[in-house]
Structures are given as C-alpha cells and as structure tokens.
Symmetry: C2
Subunit: 883 residues, 2 copies
C-alpha cells in the first residue's frame, strides 16, 4: 500500500471511503477533487505512518522518496516549483484523523517561504504586503508548532507582543492596517524570536521546513490536549493522523479575496439555508481563531457575487454527494473559489432531528439513515429545559448531575416551607444537606433539589430521576446551615428566598435567574422516534413507582413498567407511620396489624398504575431496602415517633440500633426480608392481586409481573415464589376473577448470574439489576466511591464510571453468563435490565447484542433508550457516513 | 431386587457391601453370619422401603408377603414359631441406616410377647421372672416407640414412676431385686398405662405388634432428633433406615447370662486391648441407657469365662475381617455368646491416630488407608487445650473422661438454654443428670458436657467423642437439680451461670475458670502426618502476621505463609499513633513523615517473619482495611488523639466523618488505598525489600511474595505492581543485594475472577480471598448476616454457613473460572487460597479438585489442612471401609 496519495486536476488516488488512511480531511479532499469541486492540488501522507513515526521518531526513507515524487506531480499541477526562487510553490501542511478532532491537531500554512521565495512571490503578485503578511504568519506558526514556542494560556506571547508593538508604533489597531514594510520588519522580528528561543537558525530550505512540519503534525497526535480529547470522545489512540500537503491558495491577496466557513444547513436550528461566516482579505486562521469578527455568509453575495454563487452551488453538490449536512472551509483567491475542507457538520440535537427528518422528506436519505443521524445522548437536550448557552454564568459550585434538566427558583431549606410556597405557585428549589423520606412532600413541590451530600443513588437522586425533576447532589462545596436559613459557598452566602439556577445535566449551581431554553419535542421528533421504533428489537420499559410517572413514561413511548419500586410508596404521610409501626412491632401479630393498614394503600397504588399501563406489562418489585431506611435516626424524630406509636423511647432506640448494619448494601434486605418476615411479602402480593382483580373487572388489561429482589440462591426464590402464588390463588378464589401473571427475579448478585440455570428452572423472567450487580461485582459501594472513583477515571484506571456505563468486560461477562445459562434452561425466559444502565446508549447497545428482551429506564430516558435500541439494531449496517 | 434379606445358619443373602440396602447393622449381621460368627438368625427389610413407607404411610402388600416368607425361614432356623402359644419365637426389631446414627433411631426388643406366649415361655424356660421382666420391658418400649408415649425430658415418666412404686413397695432399690410376681403386676400396670394413653387395646397379636414396630422404626427416621443429627453430620435425608428382625436371645435369663458392649481397641486411647462394659442378667438397653452401672469387660473373664474367651477370639476375627476397630454388641444367653451388632468403632482423635498407625505396623492396613482412618475434622481434638498443670485446682468432682480436651464455661442445666446462650456466643457447659438424643441441639451449642450418670458408652460419651467435644460422664457426686437450676457437690452449690472448667481427658470437674494450655502432639501423630504429606498434592501454608504465629505454624508443618496481613502490625502502641498521624495528615509531606516512622517497625516485623520462615515463601498483603478502622470514634479518644497529634479537634472530627463510609466493605480500601496514596505502598514495599536484603545478608533464604489486595481491574494491579517493582529496584541498588520475589494479587472480587485472564498476564500469583469473595458474590455482609443466616440454615435455604464451608456452586464456580482463565493465559501461575475456607476440609477437597497449588489457614488448622489435602488426593481410591 502506498504511503502517499495524490489529488489534483480532477483526479485523486484516494476517496471518501479511505478516511482510515487519509484522515477525514484528506479523504474528502480526494473525493471533492474526483467529483469536480475546485480544490487546490495536493497529496496526503497515510495516517498509518503516524504510529510508525511516533515509535521511531524518524520518517522512513521510503516515505521521503514518495513525498518527493508526489511533490513533483504537485508542482506540475500547480505550475509552480517548491522552493523555486523565481516561481515558488507554497503549501499548507494539514493534520487530519479518521475521526474529527477539531482544533486539536496542528496545521501550518504558507510553508515554502524564505527570504528568496518571498521576494519572488512579491514580484509575481506585485503585492508585497500580502507576501510578508503570509511570511510572518508562517514563521509564527512554524515557531509554535514545530519549535514548540507556544506559550501556555495566560502567559505573555512574544509574537503577539511584537505585533502589538508594531501596531502601537503605527498607531493602528487592526492587523489589516499594517503596511508591507511593517510586516517585513515583523517577519524579521518573528524570525529572531524563533531563533533565540530555539537556539537554531530558522530553516530557510523549504524541504527542511516540510520535514519539520510533517514530523510536528505527527507529534501533535501525542499532545496532552489531543490525548485528553480522545479520552473524552473515546477515540482509539492508535488511529493516528494523516498529513495533507496542499498547494496554497490565498484569501489575503486583496479585496477580491477572502476566506470563510459555511454549513449547508443551520447547525443550530437545522433550517435548510447556507449558514456561515466569511472575511475579506484574510487567511483561514483569522476566522477560526476569532481574531477578526467575520461577516455573515449572506453578505458575501454582495461582495464576491460570482464566488458566492459558486459556493451555494458547491454546497448543494456536496450535501447531495455526501448525503449529509456539510461543514466546509473555503478560500476565494482573486475571485476564484477553492474548497479546502468538507466534513459532516456537528449540530445541536434540534438541528440533528430536523435535518434528518427533512432529508428523508427530500428523498435524500432513508428513514433508517435518519435514525442514525441523531445520537441518543443528544436527546436529553430536547427533553428537558436547558440553560441558555449564550448567557454568561456565575457558577457557584458543581455537584453530581443526578437528574437532568435545568430549573430556576428561590432557595428554601426545608420540605414544609417548599410545600407551603410550592402550593401557592412559587418556584422553589429545595436545598438540603441530604434528603430523607420525610422530605418527600417538599420534593414534590420544588422545581429542583440540591443536596450537599449523597451520591448518584442517594435518596434525592433516585426520587428525582423517578419524577423527572432536576437534581444536583453531592455538591460538597455547599455548607448548608438549615437552622440559620442560609448556605455558604466559598465566599458567597445564599439565603432563603434568593434566586438560583440548578443545572441537573451538568451539575452546575448558578447564581440568579438564568434564561432557559424550553424542551424541543415536536412533530419532527415524534416522526423520527416512530422510525426508530420500526427498526429496534429491544423493548423499552420504564422504571416508575406512581401512576403519574407511569403516565409520563407512556407518553414518552414506554412499553411497560420494568421496575416499580414498592418501597417508595411507603415514604409518604400515613404510610411511613404504618411502616414504622410494622418495623417496631415486637411480634407477628403487631406486624400484621400494621401491614393491614398498608394493604389498602398499596392496593390503590397498584390499581392506579395498572390503569395507566392498560394492556402493558407491569413489573413490581417486592420490598427491597433494609428496614432501618424507614426509621428516623435523629433524637428529635425518634422522640416524636415514640410518642406517636406509644412505645418507650428506649425500645425504639434499641430497634434502630438493632437494625443498624455495618454494610447495609450487603445486609438484611431484598428477599431476605420477605423470607424472614413472610407477612410482608404476603401483604404485597395480596395488594398486587387484589388490585389486578379490581381493574380487570373495570375492563383494564393487566399483566402483573412480580419480581423477587436480591436472590442469591434458588431456594430463596422458591420460598418467595410459593408464597406469592399461594396468595394469588387465595385472592382469585375470593374475588372470583383470575389474572395471568408472572413471577420472576431481579438478577443483581454475582451468585445469581453464575447459578442462573438453577433459577431459570423456576423463574419466569430475569431482570438484571445492574446497579447492585456493579456494586457487588466490583466490590464498589456507589455511595462511597466518590473518594477514589474520580481519581480512577482521571488517571485512566477506569475508562468510564461503571455506574453510568455498564462495565462490559466484568459485569457484562456475568450478565452474558446469566443470559446464556438462563436461556439454556428456559428458552422462553423473558430477560430485561432495570438498572440505570437501561437508559445509557452504550449499555443499551450491549443489551441488544446479548439478546435481552427489554431495557427499563427512568421515564425521561425512554426516548433515549428507544433511539439507542434502534442504533444498536442498525449497527453493523453500512449506513454511517464518514465524519 | 428383593425387599427382604434373610440370614441364619451360617448363610446370608446380604453382605457387608450392602449397607445402602440393609443399613450398617443389617449388612454386618449378614456378613458376620457368613463368616461363621454366632449371630441369632433374622432378616432385614431394605432401607429402600423406608422412603416409600414415609410417602405412602402404608407398608406395601408385596413386602408383607415377603416378610411372612422370611418369618417362616426364621422360625425354621430358630426352631420356634412366631406367635405360637406353646413354643413362641420372640424377635427384636432394629433400626439401622447405611450411616451410623447411634441412639437416634428406635429399636424394640422381645416382640411377640402376649399373655399366652408369656405363659408358654415361662413354662419352657422355667423362669417366670425373666419372662415378665422381658414382657414389661417390651410393653414400655412398644408404648414409647410405637404409641409415642415417651415423655419429654424433665416430665414425670409413668413407667418409671410405676417401677419406682413397685421397688418402694418391695423395699428394694435395684430392678434386679424385684421378683416374678412384682414384674407380672408391673406388666399389667404398664399395659394399663399404654392403653389409657393410647385409647386402644394393647395389641396381643404378634403380627400386629410386628407391623406396628416396623412402621414405627421407619417413622423414627423423621423424628426431630434424627433430622437434627443428620443435618449436623451431613447425612442425606433420603438414605432411610433398614429394619432388621432378629430372633431374640436373652441376657436376662439369670446369672449365666448377660449383655455388653465392647471395642476391639480402646476407643479413647487407641490401646490394643478389648475394651468395654457388660452387665450380668440384663438386656442391652440397660447398658446403653446408663440405667445400671455396668462392669468393666475384663471382669467378665471371671464371671463368664467361656463366653469371654469366645468374645476375645471373635473380636480379633472381626477386626481382621473388617480391617478396622470394631464396636460390638453381644449377649450371653445361658453361657452362649451371640453377637448382635458390629460396626466401625467411633473413637477419639488420639485413638484414631494410634489405631491407624499401629495397624500399619501390624501389617493390617496400608499407610494410605491409615491416613484415611483419621478424619481431618477430628484433629482439632488433638489440638484442643488442656488444663494448665501448674494451676492449683479446686476439683469439685471426678467423673469418667469420656471425650478429651478441656473447656471453661458457664453452667446451664437444659439443652434449650444451652442452645440459646451458645447462639449468642456465650461459653456454656451443659450439666445433666444424663443426656438423651433430645438434648442434641444443646450439646452442639455447649463447650463441654457433664453428666452425673452413664458410662463411657452412654449417649453423652458417644455423641461428644463424635463431635470432638470435651465430655465427662458418670460423675456420681453431682446432685443435679435441674428444676432448681443448681447442682450440689458435697458441700458446694453451683448455680446456673457459675463458671466451671471441665477436663474431658482426666474426668475432673473444676471450680471457676482455669487457664488452659494448648496440647502437644505425639510421634504417632507425626508419623501419620508424614504419610499424609507423602500423598497430598496441595501445599499447606499459614495465615500468620507475627514471628510467633509463623513459628507455631511451621511447627505444625506449614510450608510457607500464604497471608501476612500487614495492617495487624499497625494496631500496637507507637504504630497506631504513627498510622493515625498519617491518616490525619493534610498533605503528601505529612503522610510521608508519618510513614517514615512506620518504616523501621514494618521492616523489623518482616525481618522477624522472614527469619522464622527461612527457606519458605512468605506472601505479604499490602494495607487492606479502610483507614477509619485505625481512628478512634468516641469523643474521649478523639480528644486525646487531637492533643497528642496537636491538631484541632474539629479537624480530627471532620477527618473521621469524611472517612466514614456507608458500606466500608465496598469502600476505600485494598489497592484503592495504595493507588490514591502511593506513598503507603511505597513504604510497605521498601520495608519488605529492605528486610529481605537484611536477612539475606544474614544467610536466611527469603522468598517474598507481595500481594496487591482487592484488585477489580488489571489496571489497578499494573499501577501497584510497577510501584512495588520500582521500589524493589531502588532498595536492591542501595543495599547492593538482590532478592528473588513475586508480585501477585488477591482474587477476592467477582470481577477479578471473570477477568482473571487479563490479570494473569501480569500477576505472578493469585490467592483467592474467599472471605471477601463470598461476601461480594452472595451480596452478604458477614458482620450483618447474623439476623437471617441462622434462619436460612435452620430452614434449609442454605445447607451450610458459606463463611465456614465454601459455597462451591456459586463462589466455587467463580473460583474455577478464575483458575481456568488464569492458567489459560499463564500456565505457570501459582494459585492458592487464603480465606478461612483454607482450613475447612470440604473446602480443601474442592481446592484440590480444581488444581490449586496451596491452601493457607490459621496456624492451628495447618495439620487439619495437611490431612484434608491428603484425603482429597486419595478420594476416589477404593480405600474407605464401610461404617
């Protein structure tokens, strides 16, 4: 395979399909050349050389020979000679990886200039100002890129300082107002800067310049910013960058010249209309670097009408050819248009949806292709209000983004106050050290919840995600003084009633009222989602604990409930009181009495959910958390509880103490509760089946699926399953109604995965509880991981937070084993996932690959999951356009 | 297959190999018959019928026919007719499972007696006293076993009361002094007792008696005490008991008759000498129940010389034939010896070792067989503490030394109380007049058993020897008043809760808490252990944290240290202070300063251990527990620490709070500490390698193996491994000494098991930390499981405590996977286990099966592990003798 690929005169050795070798930029330059778009001639050095160079720190001899051959062809095409003192060819040396990494890699323009070629060029163009403008730019870039003279941000930059001095001396403020002589002097000054800093002569030989530039571009692949960017964007390190060497064209040759950037459609709104900016008499980096303020592209029609017309035509050609919105760079040299780059345009979620849908309507792409044009991660932008990106922000602190969306409101410090103000329509944000079940009514009333403590699975986080309410937790910088009614953050003090804005998508807490952008769910969005639904194979359910959640999720397209956590129902008002009475009861009789109070409430909850989910399956998990979560822990609440339950304070304190566990995550919870207190399971099963019978009579189609939590051993499942089935029979007989139902289990312990065959013999469905499965498989408490997990991710020990994206290598292996063992024994076994990973696109792709039946996620992530499931189903199909 | 197997006249349809069908007793009766031992004729109903009967609660018709046929053959052999009013045949109906369950199942003697047959027998024998003695025993047994009239312990027993009244009336104290008329009257009285209690006529028809007895024996398989016994001894529930129906012979026909129990060697010491007890003019249950005090077997030589001589000869024949020590029951009827049972003798560990070794010396068994003759679990008896001989003792009384070892505990007087206090960890000693099978649960819970009655073969003695539990029986001076909750001994009164010490090796009962010393081992033991070492494939290492532990373990045969927990070194004196200083330090500098204080102490610790382990590998685990374990938590200690460290109390309190975790088991510990605080790992590695260099110079052969704990991800291992290796190089260079060492990891998380291939690429050894692996795999905190794990085990949800015996199905599957994946990648990988399961025989067998290189256990369990490893290596070889 050759190392160098030539393009020019309407012919190219490369093509758009060769991005792996030529980089996105090189591949598209070749492609544009082939389809007759005006592109300056050039050639591209394969990205495969990059790794080799980085290992050897030396360009291979064979490459040098190939480049020399290609340069001769380029000289022919350009009609100029590289380094020729009378008719010199200048080139740009451009980086470009297979995946776009905008601004991360280096580029050098105007290479080939030295004192002789500059003189020749001045003669040829009759424009000395242009030549020295180019020359001084070249020296600066070369100094920075090749010699490494780039100062860290904030440090005084010698080149800028010299430029400022020159302008000051001339009493002008704009670069453009400097004259040829000034620029010539500046060129000399720049050269001195480089030579002094590098301790070497500035290379005059264009070939020396070229090799230095090629090596520098390769090296830029290893620069810290590029490495960081790749980590964040999950780009493999061994991809490497190609190097394109392209004949220079000049946008800075006068007022008939210019340079610009354009999008074939509006990347913000998706509107079909050429969108972009340009600058007269400038080189490309002026636009990108924001040094001069560019003009809207439409103004070009007046200033450079012919070139503009050709640009519009070319943009249309490119979009049709590449079948997607293009982001193009162009230069006009003395009225003649040259395209320097085209690539897939980055766009907002809103634009992505509109473009995808409209391009289907225009007959340009297929529906499946449209589905792939919108990334699932983007959708949350459309589903929640977001902070207006154009507003300058006063960020007070950053916590964990526990539940997405943004909200503006007045600070309150306790739930009663939140409920009280919320009831009269005041927008409030509840700020607490941490929340407890007692705060529930206040959380319902608040626009957002902000806590100083707690992790992504803390009470506040879980409850808010369920409600789709904006929430930031674990914001450690907040010093919340609830008694004094204020919170200190650094040197700031926020008091009750002060306005703040909370961004649950980024974790930011912002001072004051920031304008929000409303969610962008529209008909385009709905159409796209329907197309996604047509191709996906995974069902998408939701985690919902209330009829309101269920309704919202169904609106978002949920096809059932995958996880209804019954314990959340116990936290409100009377219920928590009855729950506590049950826990504190000394004997079976007392527990039964308390459970009898809970029964009608649970039954009503289930009936409400069943009605909302008419015709769809509803998976109800039996009581899961350790009992102490329902008890108060502070003296005052204990005292109040003792009085209200008429039990001695001492006994209550003793109960709390007895229930305290060293590792509650691994303690007396899940089915262990139902086994030691079968009356709890019995009450819950009774409530489920009585509700099911009741709504059946009303004409609702009900499909309950009873889920036994935290099963480690099939015997545990058997005991609980028998009790559930016996209770069902009893209810059916009493009510004279039968309801079809399933009994299955949550697979959330490693032991359940490795003994899934035994469990599948008796369970009718599995639902992988990947939150707990991740905690146990990795031996990692989510609530405690904050002290080292961020360090792990920053230092590349873990590539992702395993609670956000499923650890496929570890946890995924256990899941795959569970699926395989389970299906071997029971081919009909229904298998889903109900951990938070059920809403994470990469995890959903994994779920698709291992053949799950469904994923279940919080109501607001349902559209994301639907789209991700569609992407997963389409992956492997050759539909993605190159970047 | 027939359901009934006949034996008699020197021929038998069964044999010793058929214990599964005939039970141990029936099989050996058949075998003895075949080899010419005098055994009364009889037949055995297959144990396979037991399960069928228990399911149907009805004896199958076919069985009834077979029994009738067999009875005709028995009548022929015995020369009497069953139920014949002139020449009646009486039979015993005996239980017997394939595995011995002494005293757990029921037996009925003298069956076939009714008023007519009694009359005939009186005529025939001219011994009315004997006949009615037998008759009243039969009615009592039948009443208890078939009609269920057995009173709970402590309740007044009607039969005993009637017997006492009769004796009182006669003014005699011994049963034997009652005359025929008294016994006839008693027979009538007993019949009335049974009829009144059961509400039915006592069955006069011998066939009715027989069917009732057979069914009752089958039912006794399901009695609570039998079920409990099987659970403790891991005997499968579906084994069932056989029923042997044997012609009666009579030990109660006069002074030329008797009955006894004998061992072919002393079951307590192993001495080669016929050992046992006998009673003149008595039936078997008098010996077993401890109602009369029997005489030593040697005295039989004078009283029944011919029978004694034949007994000695027969014992020798049986031991040679069965190739093991036998426990035999015999009856002498008018001078003629009959063997009623022979079985493998239960014996103390000491006896087991001595018999095994001597039988090799006598050329009777092979060494490998000898190794299998001692169960690893028994060895703990040899390692039991004994009473410190130097302590002055207040000896209350001396009884029979029924089971060796010494124990200190608080007195309790009933089994329920013992079980209750034992369950919460109280050291209790169960003191009873005598024990019965119903006391079993209390005996399990007690540290020792002390009885006022009974001999060396009484229930208490047999059961305790089986469990290796300290036991003193027949301590006649004790006046046990269970109702009053006290025991009088001479002028002393010991009440419930008082401390006593029991010495099961000497029979002494001592007031108060006496210091105990660990026992030594003898040359027999050492020879046996060497034979075990010859056959085992697993290496046995020890878990030891100090030079003293290391020395003790090496004395016990440890072949290295498998786990040296460095954190235990930090808890003493200055060290904890330095450790706390490190934890409280705000910055790296402060931590380094504190670590520098710890370095020399750690180095000395390691040097001491290396010296003790000269030539053997030493695995050192780097710091593992979460840091808060090193900090005080109460106000007072915090205050003191703040003063001594000169830090503000507030800051200290804040540190404690910051380090507090929701689930410390899954928190910031293990290698997570070494990764976030690499200076800790560095200090520890430096201490290890400096110590290694130092002792190398002294001439010690040192093989350090550095173990990185709690690795979930290979990247964690890599980071820590690199740091350890870099530190090693630095130390070697400084000290100018090189030491060979390994760096490996503890595999204690499910993720490490499923990614063992990746880890094996870089780790040089694996050590399975099965304690934590069990906790994470099962999602079960060992500290918190107490509230439901006992319930789980009692209810059969789990068959074993997974922290005692490895959960092979779940955790074991992950371990197997880890071994397979690890060895696939690195065939040389050294793999061991260092959880507590490393000392559990069943878990060791599993370790052998999956091909581990070594197990590591506490010093005192090393011999147990060596023997268990040998058993594992020999398992599958046809060496075990039948029970």
């Amino acid at each position: 395979m050759p190392d160098v690929y030539f393009f020019g005169n309407g012919k190219a050795e490369g093509s758009a399909r060769m991005a792996d070798i030529l980089g996105g930029k090189g591949a598209n330059l070749a492609e544009m050349t082939s389809i007759g778009i005006p592109v300056p001639p050039g050639f591209t050095i394969s990205a495969q050389l990059c790794g080799r160079y980085l290992a050897d720190r030396r360009l291979p001899e064979s490459l040098i020979a190939e480049v020399k051959t290609a340069m001769r062809r380029l000289e022919d095409a350009a009609g100029r000679m590289f380094g020729d003192p009378s008719n010199p060819l200048l080139v740009s040396v451009r980086s470009g990886a297979a995946v776009s990494m905008p601004g991360m890699l280096d580029t050098i323009l105007n290479l080939g200039l030295n004192d002789k070629t500059a003189q020749a060029l001045s003669r040829q163009t009759g424009n000395e100002r242009f030549v020295f403008d180019s020359y001084r730019r070249f020296i600066q870039m070369y100094g920075e890129v090749v010699c490494g003279l780039k100062e860290p941000p904030g440090e005084p930059d010698q080149f800028e300082a010299a430029l400022e001095t020159a302008k000051h001396h001339r009493r002008v403020t704009r670069d453009i107002d400097l004259e040829a002589a000034d620029l010539r002097a500046l060129t000399a000054k720049f050269k001195t800067i480089v030579e002094r800093a590098s301790g070497r002569h500035f290379p005059g030989d264009p070939w020396d310049q070229l090799w230095g530039a090629v090596e520098a571009v390769f090296r830029s692949w290893q620069a810290k910013r590029a490495v960081d960017y790749r980590r964040v964007h999950r780009i493999p390190d061994d991809l490497g960058t190609a190097v394109s060497i392209v004949a220079m064209v000049y946008g800075n040759m006068g007022d008939d010249s210019g340079t610009g950037v354009a999008f074939t459609r509006n990347p913000s709104t998706g509107e079909r209309q050429l969108y972009g900016e340009f600058l007269v008499n400038a080189q490309g980096e002026d636009v990108v670097a924001g040094i001069r303020d560019p003009e809207p592209i439409a103004d070009m029609a007046a200033q450079l009408p012919a070139a503009y017309e050709e640009l519009v035509r070319t943009a249309e050609t490119l979009e049709r050819h590449f079948r997607d919105v293009q982001d193009i760079e162009f230069t006009v040299e003395r009225g003649r248009l040259f395209l320097l780059q085209t690539r897939r345009a980055k766009r907002t979620a809103q634009a992505a949806v509109r473009c995808a849908v409209e391009m289907v309507d225009e007959g340009r792409i297929e529906r499946r292709e449209a589905v792939l044009r919108v990334h699932p991660d983007q959708l949350s932008q459309l589903l929640h209000p977001t902070v207006d990106p154009k507003t300058p922000l006063q960020v007070l602190a950053v916590g964990l983004p526990a539940s997405p969306g943004a909200a503006v409101g007045k600070v309150v410090f306790n739930a009663d106050r939140a409920a009280q103000l919320g009831a009269v329509g005041q927008p409030v944000i509840l700020v607490r050290r941490e929340t407890s079940p007692d705060d529930f009514h206040g959380m319902v009333a608040a626009r957002a919840i902000l806590t100083a403590r707690g992790g992504m699975t803390s009470h506040a986080a879980v409850v808010c995600r369920g409600m789709g309410k904006c929430c930031v937790v674990g914001c450690k910088d907040l010093d919340v003084d609830e008694a004094a009614g204020l919170v200190r953050v650094d040197r700031w003090v926020v008091r009750e009633g002060d306005w703040i804005t909370v961004d649950g998508s980024s974790g930011r807490v912002i001072m004051g009222q920031v304008p929000l952008v409303p969610p962008g769910v529209n008909e385009d969005f709905n159409r796209l989602m329907r197309w996604a639904d047509e191709v996906r194979m995974l069902r998408v359910r939701t985690n919902a604990d209330t009829p309101a959640d269920a309704r919202r999720a169904r609106e978002h397209g949920a096809e059932g409930i995958g996880l209804c956590r019954t314990e959340h129902m116990f936290f409100e008002g009377d219920r928590i009181q009855a729950m506590r009475e049950m826990i504190v009861a000394m004997d079976l009789e007392g527990r039964r009495r308390a459970l009898l109070k809970l029964l009608p409430m649970q039954r009503d909850d289930f009936a409400g959910i069943f009605r909302e989910m008419d015709g769809l399956p509803v998976t109800i998990r039996l009581l899961d958390p350790p009992l102490h979560e329902f008890l108060p822990h502070d003296e005052e609440s204990l005292h109040a509880l003792a009085v209200s339950l008429s039990v001695p304070l001492e006994r209550l304190r003793h109960t709390v103490e007895m229930l305290t566990e060293s590792n509650p995550m691994l303690g007396h919870r899940g089915c262990r509760l139902g086994i030691t207190f079968p009356e709890i399971t019995e009450m819950q099963a009774q409530a489920i089946f009585e509700a099911a019978c009741q709504v059946t009579v009303e004409g609702v189609a009900v499909h309950p699926e009873v889920m036994i939590p935290l099963v480690a051993n099939v015997s545990e499942f058997n005991r609980q399953c028998q009790l559930v089935r016996a209770t069902a029979e009893r209810v059916f007989t009493e009510r004279k109604v039968r309801v079809e139902y399933l009994v299955g289990t949550m697979i959330e312990l490693p032991r359940a995965c490795v003994t899934a065959d035994e469990i599948a013999d008796v369970a009718e469905f599995f639902s992988f509880g990947t939150n707990d499965l991740t905690q146990t498989t990795l031996g990692l408490s989510r609530d405690d991981a904050g002290r080292f997990l961020p360090f792990y991710i920053e230092n590349g020990i873990l590539s992702d937070d395993p609670f956000q994206t499923l650890d496929q290598v570890g946890v995924g292996k256990l899941i795959s084993m569970g699926v395989r063992l389970g299906r071997e024994r029971n081919r009909q076994l229904k298998i889903g996932i109900c951990g938070e990973h059920g809403g994470d696109p990469r995890s959903i792709e994994f779920c698709h690959q291992i053949g799950l039946n469904y994923v279940s996620c919080s109501p607001f992530r349902v559209p994301i999951a639907r789209l991700a499931a569609a992407h997963a189903a389409l992956s492997g199909q050759p539909l993605y356009t190159t970047d």
